[in-house]
Amino acid sequence: MNALLLLGSAVQAAEPPAGHPAAGGEGAHDIAGTLMHHVLDQPFYGLPSKHLAFFVFAALLVILMARLALRSYAAGRVPRGLGAFVDGIVVFIRDEVAEKNIGHGDGAKFTPLLCSFFFFILVAALLGLTPFAATSTGNIAVTMALATVSFLAQQWAGISKHGVVHHFAAIVPPGLPAWLLPVMIPVEIVSMFTKPFALMIRLFANMLAGHMVITTLLLLVPLMAQVSTVFGLSMIPVSLGLSLFIMALEILVAFIQAYIFTLLSAIFIGMYAHPAH
């Protein structure tokens, strides 16, 4: 597991500080460098970007998962296994998330997009917990892309239903006194952009913070080992236990963040598809 490898390399690096990314130099800088090295983007086996490689890998996994799930529907059988799992989630998103928030006719139209969001964010986050992998949604460019798609979906929902003029005219709530308009219009226009911005930051920060906490807990071992080897070795079970607990929490956070991104996208799409609700 990457936890053991990190520990191994770190304990080895604490005594003779060599054979580690920032070989030599003072110990504290070494540890901060290792922390940044593990959570930031880096080249990966000749590919320019590790986060990009795992972004593509997660997307391919989602497509593969969908194809495999579809196969269990062949010949009208009741789906079992992976098909049942995917089926359950898709039905949940269609009924609870899309139909409830976007409205009864359009919910099914936006369900594919919302399912894509949910499955991709979930798979990307879970993939990042495996050894030697990276969480692609821990890169702000990736979450910016997801938020941009969500933003475009919101605008498309409004414009396709009401036309460009009415979409922007309906931004302010109806029945507003005229003297409030100069205040409300900029506020509403800014809020049109802050909603996807918040989606982006929320997902990015959750994924990044989780990995930083795990890496920091594991790096406590070389930190303690700089004081004395006994401290370092006795820190190992504590550090491992805590970081395993945080990894379990990360699995839960992956599900929750995928659901929140999907739910909020659905709510915002519903706000533009059916304004003045």
Partner: protein
């Protein structure tokens, strides 16, 4: 005091303030959810779902502050 020292100091204080706000909010949320479940155990499933969504949103806000703090510490 050089600028770096002040930045690290501010990062530490910022992290502490962030956690005060986030924990206070989520604590109140959890208390209200517990009370709701205690009053009506049938609604436990719905209340749990709403609690998790609200906790995610509150955490999202506290992460804005966390990002600012991290930027202070590493730049």
């Amino acid at each position: 005091m050089e600028a770096n020292a002040i930045a690290y100091f501010a990062a530490g204080i910022g992290a502490g303030l962030t956690i005060i706000g986030g924990a206070a909010g989520i604590g109140r949320l959890a208390a209200a959810a517990m009370e709701g479940i205690a009053r009506q155990p049938n609604a436990a499933g719905d209340i749990r779902g709403a609690m998790i969504v609200a906790a995610g949103l509150i955490e999202g806000i506290s992460f804005f502050a966390l990002i600012v703090t991290i930027l202070l510490a590493v730049k």
